[in-house]
């Protein structure tokens, strides 16, 4: 039997580079069948991205470039996917579980009458087809789902899949955009994020240092940044720290933020509310520093330190520096 086609959405950054999620999306696609990457950009932005998609395992890449991509929300991408779906009848469609990915999945599912598996953390295939893995209620349960028939549309949680595809020289197909529905929302402005940080991305980092309200102020939060930099770690925050303005929302770990599963998670001045644990309790090793001996974070910490972060952390950084001149 010829390998089943897996349509994979590969978002492109304003710089023309593929989003980081492309590697795991194409990895998951390769676990299931033959990955067909789909790139939809404004004119002149897709070429390099299509080449890198090949390096990540996309044997075929469908490319559409159109001005409307910069001015019309979601519909240009849905249009390209609907045509690709009609042409290829893929067994699955994989998109990142982010804002744009979810909108694409939603419209495509209604338009093609396909079932959705949302916020998926892994995939495999059994005799009957594709199985999606989910992590439910803040990683306290895992479930598996499938579709009764037809294509399964999967929104893949970022940072969840480790498998990677084999580099290939991709066959690139250029496609045209059809007519877009007149009622689509328009994009009236774009402002690039000022990503000054050279820290590893929170979602994939092997070590994460997270700061909470216990850091007391934006200046105090700098302590978490210093430790993150000393360890080459990604930086995270609790919702209380985000709400207090110590850190941007993109760093929030937990139920309504990012879910991480690093080798090491260090929580500084975080009490350990259930909704925070929901985003980090599958970390391999958890270290917590909190001055309240009763803080619930200690119930799940492999090493808990009852103490003041402003004393313990500077000493930790000094000691590590002394060890590694």
């Amino acid at each position: 039997m010829a390998q089943q086609k897996i349509l994979t959405y590969l978002p492109v950054l304003p710089s023309g580079e593929l989003m980081g999620s492309a590697a795991e999306l194409l990895g998951a696609a390769a676990q299931l069948g033959s990955p067909v990457g789909v790139i939809v950009t404004t004119p002149g932005m897709a070429e390099a991205a299509a080449e890198s998609a090949g390096e990540l395992g996309a044997a075929t890449v469908r490319v559409a470039e159109h001005e409307a991509v910069g001015t019309t929300l979601t519909e240009p991408t849905v249009d390209v996917f609907t045509t690709a779906w009609e042409d290829l009848r893929p067994e699955a469609v994989l998109v990142p579980n982010d804002i744009d990915g979810r909108d694409l999945a939603a419209r495509l599912s209604v338009r093609t009458h396909s079932a959705i598996a949302a916020d998926v953390v892994g995939v495999h295939r059994d005799e009957e087809g594709i199985v999606a893995h989910h992590s439910v209620y803040g990683s306290t349960f895992t479930t598996e789902s499938a579709t009764t028939h037809g294509t399964l549309i999967i929104t893949l949680r970022e940072g969840a899949v480790d498998y990677r595809g084999q580099p290939v020289t991709p066959e690139i197909h250029r496609v045209e955009l059809g007519e877009l529905p007149p009622q689509a929302a328009s994009i009236t402005e774009f402002s690039a994020s000022v990503e000054a940080s050279t820290r590893p991305d929170l979602r994939g980092a092997p070590t994460v240092v997270a700061g909470g309200r216990g850091l007391g102020s934006a200046e105090g939060f700098a302590l978490a940044e210093q430790l993150a930099d000393a360890l080459g770690a990604g930086l995270g925050a609790s919702r209380a720290a985000v709400d207090a303005g110590y850190a941007p929302h993109s760093l929030q770990v937990g139920q309504t933020g990012v879910t991480v599963a690093p080798d090491l998670y260090i929580a500084l001045g975080i009490s350990g509310a259930v909704q925070h644990l929901a985003g980090m309790q599958t970390a391999k090793t958890v270290v917590a520093i909190n001055k309240d001996p009763e803080a619930p974070i200690f119930d799940i910490a492999d090493l808990g330190i009852v103490g003041d972060v402003f004393e313990v952390v500077p000493q930790l950084i000094e000691t590590l520096k002394a060890q590694r001149p």
Binding site: V136, T143, I305
Partner: protein
């Protein structure tokens, strides 16, 4: 203008939430049922707009079990005008396709200019229902908005995208969803609670909406459920002036640095 707000009753995330290991459905006895916090922000956005503009009506829409009725009464107390509840045993374990079909049908039945919902529910974590509804009712979508401005004919807001933030604008009718960047919900006052008792609350069955939950369309089905082993507490030390050093040793010893 009529604004419909999608509200959802969910297991309280402050408590222990459980799935039934045989059916995969939420264990109702395990936790309290509360209004999903994110949908309370959607209600707040609608109600505060109604207070600042002329002729704006706010209706609440939900699908869920009987217990959702008391959630609807409590939410009406925040200042919404009426509530609409789809209640049917055929909805137990509904997948996203069926949920979107049901909500789109009831919204079309009621008629509205704008639908506001939370971006992602705290139990299902899907985040696709609002846009699925938009596709079904032929409306624009503008989801995961970190800010929201409503006029008589349009909605505008900002949302995160690849490498930045976009401002999006949709003409009504539209479906929008909001993030937790939007203001927290108000506490209903005594007057609100008393008034809510008399507000219209209508229920619908699937038959009322002409929907057959057993229709032969692709459905997402659950294959298995497992409970993850609970994490246990490890060592706990009290800082006696050397905890930073001890932590460094621990990390080096475990090859974590």
């Amino acid at each position: 203008m009529r604004i419909a707000v999608l509200v959802k009753e969910v297991p309280d995330s402050y408590g222990a939430r459980r799935l039934n290991l045989t059916t995969g459905l939420a264990e109702r006895e395990a936790s309290d049922r509360v209004l999903d916090e994110i949908t309370s922000r959607a209600v707040e956005a609608a109600v505060s707009h109604a207070e600042s503009a002329e002729g704006v009506e706010v209706v609440l829409v939900t699908m869920g079990p009987e217990s959702a009725e008391s959630m609807l009464r409590k939410t009406l107390a925040m200042g919404a005008d009426s509530a609409h509840h789809v209640l049917d045993p055929g909805l137990l374990g509904a997948d996203m396709t069926l949920s979107a079909e049901v909500l789109a049908a009831v919204l079309q039945r009621i008629g509205c200019d704008l639908v506001i919902s939370g971006d992602v529910s705290s139990d299902g974590t899907g985040g696709v229902i609002p846009t699925m509804i938009a596709e079904r009712i032929g409306a624009a979508h503008a989801t995961s908005l970190d800010s929201l401005t409503i006029t008589d004919s349009s909605v505008t807001g900002n949302r995160e995208t690849y490498g930045g933030t976009v401002t999006v604008e949709a003409q009504l009718p539209a479906v929008v969803s909001v993030t937790e960047r939007l203001p927290d919900a108000r506490f209903p006052g005594f007057k609100g609670i008393m008034a809510a008792k008399k507000k219209p609350l209508e229920t619908y069955t699937l038959a009322d909406l002409g929907i057959d939950p057993a229709a032969d369309v692709p459905r997402s089905i659950l294959l298995s459920v497992t409970e993850a082993p609970a994490r246990t507490a490890g060592e706990k030390i009290h800082d006696e002036g050397d905890a930073g050093k001890r932590l460094a040793e621990y990390l080096i010893d475990k090859k974590l640095v």
